[in-house]
Subunit: 417 residues, 4 copies
């Protein structure tokens, strides 16, 4: 029995799903394969990803492969009710609604995992976490799972480090055709889409402060520069910091950056990046946003406490006045700005990420028989899947590439040069 | 008596106006002056500009200077009903609503000019055109006006060329602090904001075709490149075309460009840029949009006629299937995509453009007395206004500049070197 | 009788001229016309331009049109002796050598003008200046001249302002197909070519300070950014300064910029941009260079005086140690760094500039007969020449453009919309 | 007994070394440590690297640490005779001269290794190769070595794969603070420095074809774009190809790219990238260059054979006319264009690479005692060295970064979120 807001929104959701399907040719090709070969026949898949049109199309692709789908979101603000409705109308079980409260959110995941999945698909680790914490008895029957994002990968590695991970997880995020594109070009564009549509402010000439210069930070910085900003990066890793300098950006500690920044984007995957002592040093009118998985990077909780006045300044912008008279504007409550204040990553990027998801899920289904992974729990995406997704994508974009001749292969393998 | 959709939207509109006022420091400074000096006391100003929050703040600035304001939009799709309501609630007369039909749109302008304005502020020339065509008897009492955009300027010069312009018009668009910023950085960012939020498609790796390489086209191309696109420019002026080449873009005739383009943006200010014969050569899934003033650049009328199937693919995206089986997707019916599918230019840019508007309007009010323009009808923005706006803007951004020493001035004026 | 260093260098010079001729297709086309039509038959042309391979090819083009050529340089450091020799070997009269002392430089110009030219071609105004100052009696027979650069144009306008300009001068510099390309893309690339080859230092991550944000400054800044620098601009014009900000650069007074800069480039056309008080604030190891016409932008004269130690640090780099212990490194003695420490503008750029020169000179030759300029002394390059050069260039690059239909022309001329 | 060209050039070489030492603060800091601690006392180091000023400073740093230095080049065209002389004058043994013939080049390496080194430093693998092939008896006493470049690393891994590598080699190239900077920012700038100074041609508006989109290719492409080129990438790896597309570049097979390219740069580390069949399809005037380690990427040998006319067109540019009448211009005989037609990587970049070299060599010297590597032959640079070099570099550039709090570290290690 699904838990959604309003089934009457299904048509609007369907329209969105149809639109993105036009621009996801790799996943569409895989879907056609799945329809024929039914790799998931008889399997239950529990899935927790940002629930919007592109994810919905992944769900439909898996369902086309014979899977019985149990779907929930992975962030209370990213669930789109119309899309959820369209999935339910199409026959899936969905537990999710927009702006779910903390306990509702947990309950939605709980309902999604308690059915006892064969395969899990997770984004950030909440679903896998709950399976292990609340339903340890169900872990044994899970063939394996796929993890979508950096944060989830870090958690899985931590779990595996302490020996508590109970079934194999494929690190979809770590596929080159995923994280080098999704985290960089996807986040790069969608963060600015979210900020721009929400604020209607100019980026050119602004001091933009980006915390973290991993793939996400690189993408956000690259697009900020492309929009004319002066970019400042804060980092804890000296090599990443030096890369930022060489890319033409300023690098300084956050304590200094807060004094000059007009727009802030955190992308660290860590917590407490912008906290109480930073709030007090910020300029009047500073705009704060987060593009990391959890809403702990900008310490909004504390900001709420110390504010002497609070008001909604525009849709999705909450203004906080401090006792120094300055207003700080927080977008989407400090949650993932590209998802909670936009439509998430551009469609074509998710075409690649979800193609890796779909092929990795198929690998799990197949691997169940052969038990090919042995006792290994942390599974990298096989390089063949990685390359296949990229090659298909290139083909759909009309780009052809070269291949090595035998003489060249031999040359590359020889050391006598 | 105002004509608007729904006065109950006023609070939402007020919120929007308050938000932008925080990021328009130059206009706010001028407003404080106006409040003190009341330069428009006893004057009626008829104004026709894209009716959204930033324009509303211009209206309030003029009103603060003592003007009696009569306000309408300049594009049926750009009027925001909540903002219009907020102005009415604040005491102005507004004739405008979103998605007005052609005859309603005309009627709104008619009501706005028939009150017999002292000063007019126009964007595109419709208001000035109607004054001359339908109310020639009112032209005599008009002290003068200001024109906001390139298209309007072209029409004014054509009018003046045939001797039919009846009162002086200040070419606000031609101020350096306006068109070099608004048309370039403003259009550049807002066009992509509009396209991205409407389509959720990726720009990186796409073939983007931009027609016209004037200031608007330059801005749109610069930001497309900043978002990772491969940009192709079509032009009729060889020097602009060569500039595009040197800026790293491909240049080709539209007849060839239509075969490779994924996303199209027209910025020419002309008509019939993408027409029937081009439609048939386009790729399946091509996205068409316009950033020129009128909706004549992409010939949507003909597209509607030749389509064998039509459907709304997503909000503000109409899909047309041709008899060759391909779908073309038109954003915002081919109207100004940054306004009809977004919130228009970023706030800080309009701060400059509208500061020029406000100071130019004041000049008109003052000039009435001294009749300082003589018989001249086409009036450039005085360089002092231009420089003052830029200097104030720099100050608010915290940037200071140098000034010439006496020795340097002398050197620059001397030819003996 | 020519004055050059060493005729035996002619073959090396010939090689250089032949090389550039391959990449100057527009000028080569004009040369073929000139060979047939001999527009300069019986005319003497005195020319003072940076004497290197591309200029030499212009000289040969004019000679091919029948002109008797008298050639000198316009900067003591930019003359290349091998190229001068090749011209002499080809039959021209040349007075120039590399690193001429001030009095030698003057004498070279003197010898070039005293022959009584019909047409003059100048770069910076020294030749025209000497004609007026020392040979007023020869001015009467000069049909007219062409001026190549911004600095020269400023001086001509100053002369004309005081009524002292004695013959018409075509402002070649102001042609759109010249200054929008030469001053921007030409200077942009060649300045960094000069700096990089001279210093072997990294640009990425450096603080580069550019004084002046005109076309030259824009070009130098654009390429600095393209090389990964963090760019700071100093300006006196608020609008140009604001443009720099919107282009993503920092803007500040030179007094502050000197404290952070690693590499300095002056492009103002003014004097005394970096002077004694700035020197003392600079970082140890700062690199100073100039891309403006005269060597007065960095006050090297004073630097020499206040230095406590001086040494050549590398070819074309002079190091000065101040009494604060810091070393400052000046490239090419503060002369035009792209020419005095490089080979000047890229060849293809000068193809356009010199095509405008050649067609303008032809216009003068023809205009002599019809006296078509009346008493006007400051002559703009006719738009037809401008467009023709751009169109030819596009064709040689394989780029085709559109042209307006009759309906479009009509639309653009109409104001009724 | 050294073998060099001309000891009288030593002063010029000394000047060059002193210049770069000013801009290599990290290596200078290490030098001061070495002077105090003499980690190489009693050790002989044989070194084969591009012999120019920056390498010379590395040699002096090692010598300052007590090493007896035996030095040769690693490419016949990159050796600078003045620098070699300065080293000899300073007391080292050097076997190298510019433009050594193949047998001379081999002999120089031979003399450098036959002395029986304790530590070797290699660039490309020629020195290590000769040690194994010709002096197997000396391999036993080698503590270990360092390899500078991608090509050498590939050869070492191949050797180790067949079990023939006889002593441990540290993969200096693979340090993040080396290859992410040297191969990208270093190659990126220096390749264009070499091409620009050698050709004096414009990059803006040109079709630049880059083969290979590894770190070097990325750097060269990024700077080509920064100079205004339209960039086309050829690749064999689909993921790298897709990255190039998303970065805004065209991707196509070399067979198609040769028809549109104006300037070619190969960066693959493979052979036979541009061969006979490609030559015939190229445009007249096409410029060919290589930035890969060996001169096998552009098949110059074959080009020489099939050319119907050959001439030196400019210093370091050889022109070949094919029987189709077209001229192709090859820079620096197809050898590393940044080194053979320039001064190699920018100084500050080599500061990092050589700091890693110096610290890795020290590690070897120390490791000899503790035998800490066991039987492992392929040794990664320890992460502490990597981070230390980056951190020191940041400090010298005046950039400070943040560090993780205990709470943040804990958060990152925890999976319960």
């Amino acid at each position: 029995m699904s838990q959604i807001r309003d089934i009457s929104l299904a048509d609007e959701g369907r329209k969105k799903i149809d639109w993105v399907s036009n621009y996801m040719p790799v996943l569409s090709g895989i879907r056609r394969d799945f329809e024929k070969n039914k790799p998931f026949a008889g399997r239950k898949i529990s899935l927790s990803i940002h629930l919007e049109a592109k994810t919905a199309y992944l769900c439909e692709t898996l369902a086309a492969g014979g899977a019985e789908m149990y779907v929930t979101g992975c962030n209370p603000l990213s669930t789109q009710d119309d899309v959820a409705s369209a999935l339910v109308k199409g026959g899936m079980t969905v537990h999710a609604w927009h702006d779910a409260k903390a306990d509702e959110y947990d309950e939605h995941i709980r309902q999604t995992v308690k059915i006892g999945p064969d395969i899990v698909i997770d984004d950030g680790g909440d679903l896998v976490g709950m399976l292990h914490n609340e339903f340890p008895e169900l872990c044994g029957q899970v063939i394996g799972g796929c993890e979508e994002t950096t944060t989830g990968v870090k958690r899985l590695i931590a779990m595996d480090g302490e020996g508590s991970l109970r079934f194999p997880m494929i690190l979809v995020n770590n596929a080159r055709s995923k994280h080098m594109f999704d985290n960089r070009y996807g986040t790069g564009q969608s963060v600015w889409d979210g900020i721009n549509r929400t604020t209607n402010l100019l980026v050119a000439g602004k001091n933009v402060v980006i915390s973290g210069y991993g793939w996400c930070g690189k993408g956000v910085a690259m697009r900020a520069k492309g929009l004319g900003a002066r970019v400042t990066v804060t980092e804890v890793d000296p090599i990443a910091a030096l890369e930022a300098v060489m890319d033409g950006f300023s690098v300084m500690p956050i304590a200094e950056a807060v004094e000059i920044g007009d727009i802030f984007v955190t992308t660290t995957g860590c917590r407490d990046i912008i906290t109480e002592k930073e709030f007090y040093k910020m300029k009047d009118g500073a705009v704060l946003s987060n593009a990391g998985h959890f809403d702990l990077e900008v310490d909004v909780k504390t900001l709420k406490k110390i504010a002497v006045e609070t008001k909604e300044q525009r849709r999705n912008i909450m203004g906080y006045r401090l006792n120094n008279g300055r207003w700080l504007s927080v977008l989407a409550e400090g949650r993932l700005v590209n998802i909670a204040a936009g439509d998430g990553h551009p469609t074509e990027i998710m075409d690649m990420s979800f193609a890796v998801q779909a092929l990795s899920a198929r690998l799990l289904a197949e691997g169940a028989a052969s038990n090919k992974f042995g006792s290994q729990k942390i599974i990298p995406v096989p390089v063949e899947i990685d390359q296949e997704v990229a090659l298909r994508k290139l083909n759909y974009m009309g780009c052809r590439i070269d291949s090595l001749s035998e003489a060249q292969k031999k040359y590359l393998e020889s050391w006598k040069g």
